[in-house]
């Protein structure tokens, strides 16, 4: 096997032609793209906002004086809440987002193909 010296193109980011983009350069195509971007951004903002609200709620709940002293299986409640309880919320938000984002893309694909 011969060894060749390989070099990276300086702007690796943009190979000249892409069928995906060529099909979308029409005005109608751009309308679809804009609406896809809008719905994905809206989705991301809603999930992020919802997660931050839950996070704030957890923070406030952990600061409630009576609750902080309670114990679950010997572990202080506020530690349990912030140290373990928040992670399922993160996972749930993520999987919810992924499913909806894929659905948005499928919807876009159907529209773009009918065109």
């Amino acid at each position: 096997m011969t060894r060749v010296r390989v070099t990276a193109p300086r702007t690796a980011a943009l190979p000249a032609n892409d069928t995906r983009e060529a099909a979308q350069e029409s005005e109608v195509g751009q309308v679809f793209v804009r609406s896809l971007i809008r719905s994905q951004l809206w989705l991301a903002l809603v999930v992020a906002g919802g997660f931050l609200l839950v996070l704030c709620a957890f923070g406030l709940l952990a600061a409630v004086p009576g609750l902080a002293d309670a114990r679950v299986a010997g572990i202080p409640f506020d530690w349990l809440l912030l140290g373990a309880g928040i992670y399922p919320v993160i996972g749930l938000s993520a999987s919810l987002y992924i499913r909806t984002a894929a659905r948005n893309e499928a919807k876009y694909r159907d529209l773009a193909e009918d065109q």
């Binding site: 390989v6 991301a44 572990i75 202080p76 530690w79 993160i90």
Partner: protein, 488 residues
């Protein structure tokens, strides 16, 4: 602990890392392999690798140390480190993968069609990378000192040597294997001793020394401003870290980039349970560690302190090995991504240039690390996140989601964020932690909005400069790939 056991553990981890690196060399052949592993890494491998690379000295040692010092206030650190990945998933993962760029400067240049933006981004990325390597080397120095009794500098130098050898030998392909291995090593090294200690302590009814809520040092707790500012830094900083981003290019398409991120979130959630356990155990059973100024070493010291004997020695060795894996993996991830940037911008993108750049990107921060003293590890990493959140994050988020971003806007925003946050960091380092006002010690809450605001306002004022390629690139970022993916 027994120095011989510590030396053996560190040697095994270093050899295993180098071994997997050399094994990777055999299948690494093209420039594509070197930079992004030809985008053929399966999701589980890739997710483990992302986790392995992300979990740094701060996560492995620093988080437990901070929890020991500040209790539940410090629990925002692991939460923020994990939630940062959620933000990355929501706003960046798929579009960035679809951009087809290798590095962040590639992305900004393509998006804004400007060489100047590329140069500024490169500078910022290199600054972030170097700033982030320094605490890793401090962590290595600490670990070597605690576990073997050798002088601190040996640890920093050892990490740099192993990383340079691995990266120069194999590039990203072997790095992916190394990183994936190191995630599982780190998890085991932290989990096994934690479970063992908890089991023994609760089993034989060891009396607790203090309440978990008792503050062991009597230092003032952080106020709401610090907690919020920290969360801003961690949530928005993660999505700008160069070594995190480069990983997303190794997914075959945008959808799999999202799936990989979901797995990463699971891996991180499991991992971060354990620093919390160490912190909690330390607060209850060994609060004197906090008073002796050794908080960052709690993970290393706790097994020996609470168990003692051969079991304590063995578990300490395991933890030390895991800690070393943490420094190695994060440092090599950073070095690879920095080398990618430096070699493409300065050295023309050849494999030889990549190797030269890799050595440069490891040796410069080594100099910084040897000249400076380590502060609290999690705290200094938190500042790097603040810097990233004020510079790279705005240009990525606005570049991906806002059509109106211009080159002038991007540059002014990055410069503003960099100067404000960098200034706060330099000021804090110059006057010392005790004399730094709280809003300068934790600057993200105002530097991040300032960077975003400047970027938007200047872009609006230079509307005419929106590049003509913008609609095409936005289409590329957000539309699903063809051929139709296997979903449905």
């Amino acid at each position: 602990m027994n120095p011989a056991v510590g030396v053996a553990a560190l040697a095994v981890v270093s050899l295993a890392t180098a071994g997997i690196g050399f094994y990777g060399l055999r299948i690494s052949r093209t420039t594509g392999d070197f930079y992004v592993a030809s985008r053929t890494v399966p999701p589980w491998w890739n997710a483990s690798a992302i986790g392995g690379e992300y979990l740094s000295a701060a996560s492995f040692l620093g988080v437990a140390g901070l929890i020991l010092l500040s209790g539940t206030d410090a629990l925002w650190f692991p939460v923020g480190y994990t939630a940062g990945y959620l933000m990355l998933l929501l706003f960046v993962a798929a579009p960035l993968r679809r951009s087809g760029a290798y590095t962040i400067p590639d992305f900004t240049e393509a998006r804004l069609n400007s060489r100047a933006v590329r140069r500024v981004t490169s500078l910022v990325v290199v600054a972030v990378g170097w700033l982030y390597v320094v605490p890793q080397l401090h962590g290595a120095a600490l670990t070597i000192r605690i576990t073997t009794g050798l002088p601190s500098w040996v640890g920093s130098v050892a990490v740099v040597v192993v990383v340079c050898l691995t990266v120069v030998a194999g590039g990203m392909r072997s790095i992916t294997f190394v990183q994936a291995f190191q995630y599982w090593l780190k998890l085991t090294a932290l989990a096994v001793p934690a479970v063992f200690i908890a089991f023994v302590l609760t089993g034989n009814g060891t009396p607790s020394v203090a309440q978990a809520s008792t503050n062991p040092t009597g230092l003032a707790p952080a106020g709401p401003y610090q907690n919020i500012s920290l969360l801003v830094a961690l949530l928005f900083g993660t999505l700008g870290l160069p070594h995190v981003l480069v990983r997303f290019y190794t997914n075959p398409d945008g959808h799999s980039a999202r799936r990989t991120t979901l797995i990463v979130l699971g891996l991180l959630s499991v991992f971060y349970l354990f620093p919390t356990v160490y912190g909690l155990l330390g607060r209850i059973f060994a609060p004197e560690l906090a008073r002796s100024g050794q908080a960052d070493a709690i993970v290393l010291l706790l097994p020996g302190q609470l168990l003692g004997g051969a079991a304590g020695d063995l578990l300490s060795a395991l933890v030390a090995g895991g800690a070393f894996a943490a420094f190695l993996s994060t440092t090599s991830g950073l070095v690879v991504s920095l080398a990618g940037v430096i070699s493409q911008d300065v050295l023309g993108g050849s494999v030889r240039g990549f190797r030269l750049a890799a050595v440069t990107s490891a040796v410069v921060p080594l100099g910084f690390a040897l000249m400076t003293d380590s502060q609290a590890l999690a705290g200094s990493v938190g500042l790097v996140f603040a810097f990233t959140a004020s510079t790279v994050c705005p240009v990525l988020l606005l570049g991906i989601w806002w059509r109106g971003l211009t080159d002038v806007g991007a540059i002014s925003g990055m410069v503003t964020g960099g100067l404000l946050c960098g200034g706060a960091m330099i000021f804090g380092a110059a006057v010392g932690a005790a004399h730094t006002p709280f809003w300068l010690a934790q600057p993200a809450a105002w530097t991040v909005p300032a960077a975003f605001a400047v970027m938007v306002i200047v872009s609006l004022a230079t509307k005419g400069r929106v590049p003509g390629t913008m609609p095409r690139i936005m289409t590329r970022l957000h539309t699903p790939e063809r051929p139709l993916v296997t979903e449905r």
